[in-house]
């Protein structure tokens, strides 16, 4: 989760230092450091074999390290014959389109849930959360029939639409949190000073909710990027994305190519995580507001 860097500052554990003098405090501090190290290890260590595999020519049991190294897995993965570059572009296209669609739907929905009281609000909140609880495959099987009739099955657009199922809850929840702390009177103020509804949104609302939109977009992009089952079912094997390709190579036993694709696969997550940590943490409370509803 992109919000992680903020949470990592375990060193700021609140200790009533009047009650506890220096010594126990520093011991606790060391404990915090230790748990931080464990957390980093838990996140990074599993990736090491993947990286080693991608550079290995031969690596057999019971060797601890590969006996021979080479670039061939990377060369193959980056060549057009493997289909990986095309799949990367396709996956990016789907993830970006899904993100844009989720912003268009999620911002108004989040505003309604965050700002207004209306009948049936609790029910709608549950329905919004439902895709996070109900397995996507259950929904997708039913949707497949509908998509077939609409001619959306097996198409890029069909995959983009079905990706909204697991991603929209993230966008709506983030935006509801943002709008819960938002004062719509600022828009009234702008209107009374001569701004049209559109200009009031552009000059007043957008700057206030932009950090939330970025955080929501990061969630949506990553969830769409890593979608497997929904893409497979609705895409019908005709829309090949990176996770599909990765799964193909993983099941065919090509550990070196799987390693190389795997490294590419985790790249957006790391990049976006660093971006969020650098530019978004602390600037806006949006991520913290996730827990508000």
């Amino acid at each position: 989760m992109p919000a992680l860097p903020a949470g990592i500052s375990v060193t700021e554990i609140d200790i009533p230092h009047k009650v506890r003098p220096e010594k126990p405090r520093s011991r606790l501090f060391n404990l915090a450091k230790l748990s931080l190290a464990l957390l980093v290890a838990w996140l990074v260590l599993p990736l090491l074999p993947l990286a080693l595999w991608s550079f290995s020519r031969s690596w057999y049991f019971p060797d601890l390290l590969p006996s021979d190294y080479s670039w061939r897995a990377w060369e193959y993965a980056l060549s057009s014959t493997s289909g990986v570059p095309q799949a990367i572009l396709r996956t990016i296209l789907i993830a970006v389109a899904t993100t844009i669609l989720s912003v268009i739907v999620g911002v108004p929905a989040g505003r309604a849930l965050g700002l207004y009281q209306f009948r049936g609000k609790a029910l709608i909140e549950v329905l919004v959360l439902a895709p996070m609880v109900i397995p996507g495959i259950a929904v997708a099987l039913g949707l497949h029939v509908v998509f077939l009739k609409l001619g959306l099955a097996g198409s890029l657009i069909g995959v983009m639409i079905v990706h909204l199922i697991p991603t929209l809850p993230y966008m709506i929840l983030v935006m509801a949190g943002v709008f819960a702390n938002y004062n719509p009177a600022a828009e009234s103020q702008a209107r009374s000073l001569g701004a049209s509804a559109l200009k009031a949104f552009y000059y007043i609302t957008l700057p206030a909710i932009l950090p939330g939109i970025l955080i929501g977009s990061i969630f949506v992009f990553l969830v769409s990027w890593s979608q497997y089952i929904l893409t497979l079912l609705i895409g019908g094997g005709r829309v090949i994305t990176l996770p599909l390709l990765l799964f193909n190579f993983a099941t065919s036993g090509r550990n070196d190519i799987t390693g190389a694709i795997g490294m590419i696969y985790i790249l957006p997550g790391i990049v976006l995580l660093l971006f969020a940590a650098r530019y978004l943490s602390g600037r806006n409370m949006s991520a913290g507001n996730l827990g508000q509803i």
Partner: protein
């Protein structure tokens, strides 16, 4: 300079039975400052929002210089609002905040700059151009909000309790500033407040609103001296109400017969007079004099309040603390009610 007329304006919110505002008719003279006075929750803000176009009225009409503006969108009305929270836009500096309305009017940059600059001098914010709103004090923020509305030269300036978040001294300063600027620029202004003192100090006329209804629309001194009914009198600090009958310039009650200052055409009801107009210890045989018993004495700071009883009625007088020094409880004093200060409630 715009004359603003509200015609039988009413608002009933969805799902509520009682109207928030019921059939309000009010004419705001061009360039005047009117205080919309009433307790909280009496529909004052609703009226402002309807004039600004932020809320559609259920019925009635709003006219600017005789033309209905109901079909105009908020941004076309020229009704600038100032809210209780300054609502400065946090992402813009002070100059951009104040210039926002002019930017929306697509004025050239040079004109925006010069008008914003002049306005900032007027509200004593010169040199604060590049500051962010959060770097200003509460009073400065509210001055910037006022400047932001005034600089657009609105047809009507709508103020929704703009100073109620400020401390007492600052509030007095802001009132003076607002009054000066409003008169200089001659902008028709509607000022919502629940503070009776603020309404009296600030306005040309006061529209008193109780329970969503306009009860009296008059100058402050008329509201004090000639209230329409007992509730209005009480709202303005009236404490003395004596039952009786008035006929031909006289009022008969259990205390005696009083000579009135005006002709009240046989109103039957209550005589009222302000505590500060009661004269004690004149020791005269002049008209409207009588003996009263001192019941209690309360020191209020600048004044002392004396509770008096006569003819089975009780009433209050407020006098100078020095004059009250020689008054004791259970003492009998000579009391005079000057006839100009007497008012019979209709």
């Amino acid at each position: 300079m715009t004359q603003v007329m509200l015609k039988e304006l009413a608002k009933i919110y969805n799902g509520s039975i009682a109207p928030a505002v019921s059939s309000l008719s009010l004419t705001l003279e061009s360039g005047s400052l009117t205080a919309l006075l009433g307790p909280s929750g009496c529909g004052k803000s609703t009226i402002l929002k309807m004039i600004a176009g932020l809320l559609p009225p259920s019925s009635g009409d709003i006219l600017f210089d005789g033309t209905s503006i109901l079909r105009k969108r908020p941004e076309q009305r020229g009704a600038a609002m100032v809210f209780q929270d300054h609502l400065l836009f946090p992402y813009m500096n002070i100059a951009d905040n104040i210039g926002f309305g002019l930017k929306m009017q697509r004025l050239p940059k040079s004109e925006i700059q010069s008008r914003v600059g002049k306005m900032m001098e007027l509200v004593q914010l010169g040199g604060f151009n590049a500051r962010k709103p959060s770097a200003l004090s509460g009073g400065q923020q509210q001055r910037a909000a006022l400047a932001r509305a005034l600089v657009t030269r609105p047809k009507i300036l709508l103020l929704d309790e703009p100073f109620s978040n400020l401390d007492a001294n600052l509030r007095i300063e802001m009132r003076e500033l607002l009054r000066t600027l409003q008169q200089e620029m001659a902008i028709t202004t509607l000022f919502v407040t629940h503070d009776q003192e603020e309404a009296v100090v600030l306005s040309d006329r006061i529209a008193l609103l109780l329970g969503g209804e306009l009860r009296q629309y008059d100058t402050a001194s008329a509201l004090y001296a000639q209230p329409n009914d007992e509730e209005i009198a009480r709202f303005f600090g009236g404490r003395n109400f004596i039952s009786g009958t008035s006929r031909e310039g006289r009022f008969e009650c259990s205390i005696g017969t009083f000579t009135l200052g005006g002709n009240y055409r046989g109103r039957v009801g209550k005589l009222t007079f302000r505590p500060e107009n009661v004269r004690i210890g004149d020791d005269s045989q002049a008209e409207n004099s009588f003996d009263a018993l001192v019941l209690s004495k309360i020191f209020l700071g600048t004044q002392t309040r004396i509770r008096l009883a006569a003819g089975g009625e009780e009433f209050d007088a407020t006098i100078n603390p020095e004059d009250a020094l020689n008054l004791e409880e259970n003492m009998t004093v000579r009391v005079r009610l000057p006839k100009q200060s007497l008012w019979v409630l209709p």
